[in-house]
Symmetry: C2
Subunit: 347 residues, 2 copies
């Protein structure tokens, strides 16, 4: 049976906010879901897409484009699905699978064959129920969560009693970072762009939180971090980074995870001079550099904490593959409270 398979296409390079239907387009493409499968091939019906801040760089074709965005091609991204047909014993029908950055990912259906086979990972065998919502595998247990875990523990080196400041704290990465830091005995302060997000941060255990659009950030940091900042988890850059540096203690570590706000003021960070007497470190991170050991530890530990209710994680789910471009824009302007995800289909 021929099916009109909807796909999200990277249609045009975009240096600022993408326009749905222009830079990102959703187009149908004919696919035969009943055709005989080559040996080792299988079909994945996608259920969820992950929508993440690195889209900004990917869509800008910002070199090096490590995310594999290619003009005219289906967006790669990260997607979760179910195997709907298979001639590959490793990926049996009914298995829940996930893939990161494989070719042709942002489609309703993908026929996987040849060298692409290994790009999927089996999360759950057929019939094995998940103890957590499947969408969690794209957020708190996906790249966003892994970014937070890796950045905090590998580079942030948090110590009980220290103060951490998390900017963009209600996002997919920030909400986990704050809770992890809290579980490790830190004083946790975060910024976010709406009052609703600030309320959420307090709900999940942040000791202090403020709306950076409505406050003098310097005054807020002085008030909420009376002992100064030992660790910055920077999801924004620009003014946020500049102000945080001024409140850092000597030898503070800055984990740089996002720079979406960096261009806003012409990239000015005059306080970089203050890094010298304070001996600050600024480390830009990418979750793909995580070691296999830490990745295992992350998955195990965070799953446990989720099941035990020690960690909460909010998602912002947009329904329908046709709304993927809008979901990307919403995420880039900070409309989402929680990890941005597109729901493509029911299981």
């Amino acid at each position: 049976m021929t099916f009109n398979n909807q796909q999200v296409i990277f249609a045009q390079e975009c240096k600022s906010l993408p326009v749905p239907g222009e830079h990102l387009q959703v187009r149908g493409s004919s696919i035969d879901l009943d055709a005989p499968l080559a040996d080792g091939a299988y079909i994945v019906k996608h259920l969820y897409f992950s929508i993440d801040p690195y889209f900004r760089h990917g869509l800008a074709n910002f070199p090096p484009n490590i995310w594999g965005f290619q003009l005219g091609q289906v967006v790669r991204g990260v997607a979760l699905g179910v195997v709907s047909r298979s001639s590959n014993p490793k990926y049996p029908q009914g298995a829940i699978v996930i893939s990161q950055f494989a070719k042709g990912l942002f489609s309703e259906y993908s026929i996987i064959q040849g060298s692409e086979q290994e790009h999927y990972q089996v999360l759950l065998e057929d019939g094995k129920a998940s103890k957590i919502p499947l969408s969690n595998y794209l957020g708190v247990l996906g790249v966003a969560g892994m970014t937070g875990y890796y950045g905090l523990f590998e580079h942030g080196k948090p110590k009980a009693g220290e103060t951490i400041f998390v900017s963009g704290a209600a996002g997919g990465v920030g909400q986990l970072v704050g809770q992890l830091a809290k579980l490790h005995g830190l004083h946790v302060v975060g910024s976010a762009g709406t009052d609703e997000k600030v309320a959420y941060l307090k709900e999940i255990g942040y000791d202090g939180a403020f709306n950076y659009k409505k406050s003098d950030m310097g005054a807020k940091l002085a008030e909420l971090c009376p002992n100064g900042i030992d660790l910055v988890f920077e999801n924004v850059g620009g003014d946020s980074l500049n102000t945080a540096i001024a409140h850092c203690n000597n030898w503070a570590r800055i984990v740089m995870c996002g720079t979406s706000g960096h261009k806003a003021n012409g990239g000015a960070v005059p306080n970089i001079s203050m890094m010298m007497p304070k001996r600050l470190r600024m480390q830009a991170i990418n979750a793909h550099d995580i070691s296999p050991e830490m990745k295992k530890e992350f998955t195990h530990q965070v799953t446990e904490w989720l099941i035990q209710g020690k960690i909460q994680y909010r998602e912002y789910i947009t329904e329908g593959i046709e709304n993927t471009p809008k979901a990307v824009v919403d995420m880039l302007v900070g409309e989402n409270l929680g990890k941005a995800i597109v729901k493509v289909a029911d299981l």
Copy 2:
């Protein structure tokens, strides 16, 4: 006998270039060099002062003023001298001594007593000849050299075959860093502000060097670092840092040692966004954080290399304590080729 002891005074806070006689003043103060010495006291006749870039921050009273500059007080700095009289067996007459940041250092003579006694370190006992010029202890073997050694090895982690870019490479720190990197098998490229300095860099083994005031820095880096940059030793900041980031390879390390050029363009570093996909690290350093083990290794190793002629080190010596304020200005505007030092007296 009463002596009119000349001293360099931090007279006025200064946010830009100090004006000799205004922000930094040389004044006489009465001292009796023949008065009886309390038990444990000794008199140091200073021979050399070290003039270093951190003066900019010290004179600006830039918090935290870790260098101990205090308004109305004698500049602390780093000074080398000879014990001219002593009632302290640890500091016998004729011993060559050095002190870092002790009270009242920038004077012709200092009477050292009480809690200040331990601030001096004996470099050479009386009569023991130095195999290297005494002024070397303030430059290549002093804070400047230690900054280069510590920054390069503790934070830069150089590997043979890598490319290092050193900005402000003909300065007290940079000239050593390039030679150390060369001894470790790196491809070494540096920038400096005059053609004379560039020629000197080539003379001491830099593989490539350019005058940043006369060239397009981006084009020069592309030409001289064909394999990209793995390690930046940043003595300037600002535009230099911004351009270097664009030419860094993934996982490059930036050792931030100076930011004198950072304010020039309003502190803009738009390329900080590029740190993310490249996973760069920026570490601000201060030689005072060196471990005792590395300090010992540094002194031993660099002394050996100097004696063997494997390392050259240029000094820019200004004669006379009365010219100290001018020496500070010369250093801050980059007039000096080599480590800036004031010669106060002959041995």
